[in-house]
Every structure is written in C-alpha cells, then in structure tokens.
C-alpha cells in the first residue's frame, strides 16, 4: 500500500499539501500577530516601536532593564506587584486543592449523605458567569472588611476555582476501584490514613492538573483583582497593566515589556503541565 519513499509526490498529494498550507499559514499569522507585536515592542527602543517597522533597526533589552530596575513612574512597584501575583496564585492553588480534594473525597469515596446535592450546587456556581458575581462579591468583601486585602482576592478565586476542581476530582475518583478502600479499611486504616496514604497518591495526576488550573486562574484574573484591590502596593500585575491605560502618554513599549514578562510564567507552567492539563481538564470539561 505504502508508496516507495523516494518517488516524487503525485499532483494530487501536492494539491492536498498546498490546501493544508493554505489553511495553516493564515492560522499561524492569526495566532502569532498579537504575541509577536507584544514581543516586538518589548525589544524595540521607543522611537523604533512607534515607527511601524516589522523588526526594530536596533533591537535592545533596555526595556527589560527599565522594568527590572523599576525606573519608570508606572513601574515603581513592579517587584511588589509581581510578588503579590505570585502569593495570590500560590495561595489560591493550595487552598483550592485542600478544599476541593477533601470535598471530592467525601462525595465520591465516603458517599456522604447529600453529597450529590453539594455537587449540583457546585456545578451551578461553575456555570454562573464570573462577571455576574463580581459586583455582589465586591460588596460582600466590603461587608466582611476584606477590601484591599489579598485574602479578598484569594477567597474570591477559591470560590470560582473550587466548583470545577471538585467536579473534575470527583469524576477522577469515581474511577478508582472501591476494593482499594475496602482493603485499606480491613487492614485497620482510619479515614485520615485512607485519605493521605491511598487516595491522595492515586489522585496525583488530577491534583497536578487542578493545582495548575487554580494557579493559572488566579494569576490571569483581571476583573476581580481590579475590583477588590486598589492600593498600588496591594494590586497584582494585570491591574498594574490596566492602570497604564489611565494616562494618554503611556509608555507602550514598557507596558508591552511588562506584559511579556507577566505572560511568561503561565505560558511556561501551561506547557510544562500540558499533558496533565489535556488529560485531566479538557477531557473533563465537556463530556459527550
């Protein structure tokens, strides 16, 4: 069936390849243009950036130098804001994992009465568009006295991340054989031991996926961050990026440089954990 390897492609095969390229090249351009534009600004000196060139005459890393040494009015708190983003993302990931794993274990393995009901409540929350909850959440955080406090954003992000986390973890733990639990109980394991020594190790791939999901969600969040935090020393990086828009003469090359730095960690995390994400999340996202 297989044609010899050295022969020329037939007209028909060349046609297929050409048609595939005709789709592939526009897709590549469409995908890369905004990202390339951001990168181009990051490596361009100010005068090149605004000249509409597709490659700067004098590429430079000077913009990165300005950002790292906070040498601009808009960037005076860059490292604090970077740190804020890190803390909030890490705390959201850890808390979501803790809450969601416990809940999924209780619903799926311990078959708590009313567990299905809790699952439905969680799913319902998952489907409420987050922007709809933003205004009441903002007022609620004010009532709790948490505005301008990192806990406000962490708790809001945990609220948004945990329904999906519980659902994915429940789906995954339903697949573990019951015999494992039975055997462990027979051997005299207590429930905490069962959770720690049997359940968590077996669930590791899903836990990595969910942890990554929650961390990225919190790192990328703009709307809640800008509603709940306003002080320059408390805000996260995306809010700081949005604040660049406040001025008419914003230094766009610095904005793009900061944006580029801000986009690197989630992209790196995404590609590192891609196999978990694809297996654990996208398959669970839409069950056909």
């Amino acid at each position: 069936m297989k044609p010899p390897a050295f022969r020329l492609p037939t007209l028909r095969e060349a046609g297929t390849e050409a048609r595939l390229l005709l789709i592939g090249i526009p897709v590549l351009i469409w995908t890369m243009v905004p990202i390339y534009h951001m990168f181009l600004f990051a490596i361009s000196p100010k005068e090149d950036a605004f000249s509409g060139k597709l490659w700067p005459t004098h590429p430079t890393l000077h913009n990165f130098h300005i950002v790292f040494y906070q040498q601009h009015y808009f960037l005076r708190d860059f490292w604090i804001q970077f740190w804020n983003s890190c803390v909030i993302a890490a705390a959201t990931g850890a808390l979501t994992l803790l809450i969601a794993t416990a809940a999924a274990f209780a619903i799926s393995r311990l078959r708590v009465p009313g567990g299905r009901w809790v699952m439905n409540l969680a799913l319902f929350t998952y489907f409420i568009p987050a922007a709809f909850l933003a205004v009441p959440m903002y007022r609620t955080m004010g009532t709790y006295g948490l505005l301008n406090n990192h806990w406000a954003l962490i708790l809001a992000m945990v609220t948004i991340a945990s329904p999906y986390a519980i659902w994915v973890l429940k789906q995954a733990s339903d697949k573990l054989p019951v015999e494992l639990d039975e055997a462990a109980i027979m051997d005299g394991a207590s429930i905490p031991q069962l959770f720690r020594l049997v359940y968590v190790p077996l669930m590791m791939p899903s836990l990595v996926a969910i942890g990554t999901y929650a961390v990225l969600l919190a790192w990328n969040e703009y709307l809640y961050a800008f509603l709940l935090l306003s002080n320059d020393k408390e805000i996260t990086l995306p809010v700081a990026l949005g604040n660049f828009l406040a001025a008419d003469d914003s230094p766009w090359e610095l904005l793009m440089t900061t944006g580029f730095i801000y986009a690197l960690p989630p992209a790196a995390i995404y590609y590192t954990f891609k196999r978990y994400m694809v297996g654990g999340l996208t398959a669970g996202a839409v069950k056909s």
């Binding site: 534009h37 393995r109 567990g115 299905r116 019951v178 639990d181 429930i191 992209a267």
Partner: protein
Amino acid sequence: MAITLSASELPSAPLSARLSTPQVWGIAMLVPYLLVFLAFVVYPVCYGLWLARHPASYVALFHDPIFARAAVNTLIFLVIGINFKMLVALFLSGFFIQERSWIKWLSVLFILPWAVPSIPTILSVRFMLNPEWGVVNQLIFKFTGDDGPNWLNDPTVALTMAIGMHIWKSLPFWTLILMTGRLAIPGDLFEAADVDGASWWQKFRFITWPSMQILYITCTLLSMIWTLGDFNSVYLLTGGGPADLTHVLATLGIRYLRLDQLDMSMAAIVCALPLVLPLVYFMMKRLSR
C-alpha cells in the same frame, strides 16, 4: 458502591460500629467547601437580589439606551460571535488531526493564545489598532498613502474587534476539545467510506457530524454561558466606548458600579437571568450524570 454500603452489608460487629465514622469524616471534609459556598456564593447572590428588588430600578434600566444597546451587543456577541467561532473550531479540528509533523508544531503554537493571560495580548491588539501610532494604520499608510480608519471609534467595527479578540483567545480551547471528539471516532468507519468512494462532504455528513453533534452543541452552549461573563475582551479593548455603544452585560454591570448605581448594576444582571438559567440548567443536567 461506597465503603459505607459495603460495610453495612457485612454482618460483623466491629465493622458496623465503624459505620458512622466515615460519614462523620465525610461531613467534616465537606464543611470547608460549604463555608466558602455560603460566605461567597449564597450571601452575595442573596444580597445582589435584594439590591435589585425595586421595580423602579428596572424602569430606569429600560429607559437607559445604553442598556438596550448592551443587550443587543450581548446577543450579537453570543449568536453570531460564538456560532462563528464554533464553526471555525469544528473546521480547524479537522485540520489539526491531519498527521503531518509541521501541523504538530503548528498546534503547539496555536494553543499560545489560550496559554498566555489575556490582558497583555488584548492591550497589544489595542495598540495595533491605534489610529495614529498603531502598526495597522502605519502599514496602510505605507502601502496606500491613505490614513487608515479610526478602528475603535466606530461602534460596529469596535464590537467586531472585541468579538475577534474573544475568538482569538478561546478558539484554541474549543478546537482542542473538538479534536478529542474527532479522534474518538473509530478510524475504520472512514476506511469503509473510502472503499465505497465517499466524498469528504459525505464522510463529514454521515460519519463525523452524527458522532460529534452532541459534543458540538454542548460546547456551543457552554461557550455561550462563559462568554456572557467575558469582561476582558470588551473592557480592555474598547472600554465600552465609543460613547458607551459597545458595552455588553458583563461590562455594563461594572459601569453602573463605577457610577455608584448598584441597584441598576444588579438589575441588569437579573435581566440576563432568564437567558442564563435555562442554559445553566441544561448544562447541569448533562454534566451531573
């Protein structure tokens, strides 16, 4: 078949003494989530509904031309934007399952918009479209000698750009999902069709589509629900402008909040509920099986 069930089936005394222990533990392990749910979902939702209790807010809302415009924009976003996006995703999912090494590489790059945060890329596009300094108009000037249009200053163009931004961001995700759907179709169906000399359209019509239509419809509905909450694509690209003509419901709520009209903000969201709740109910039915 939980351990509690299997334990209760066993007659021996020591196990039946443990019977309630797992359930006590289970309830204790559910408590953290229930607390979060009560404090940050139930309370805010009730508070929001309470804020929106006055009929006067709705009267004011319906007299606000910006609300009517935002509702229309939201519908355009959902009905035209999402369906177009899903059709493209369906088409591209067929492209990305082709076995070529360059397509594998392309798919790695293709996922980038989904993997990077949306704020920097939206701002990047916003600056590309800047009428004076943006690269788009600079290129138009270079090649034609004419000044390009003021892209974000025309409500129709600006809304189209916002929809384009949304598509740019979420197309990779839905393409990936539809790819898994396509890959789940048994290959011998296509081989048999090839033997029978079926055209690509017949293969799509009689093999691909019947196996994927439920997934496709679920994805479309889910994408519509999520897009209702897409604040960034509109707010960061157009800011709702020009003249508040490109707002969608997600950004309108924040606009009223900024103007300190909380009741209007909540009323606008309550008005969207008849649209959202049936979709949510349908999705819950599908996913909670």
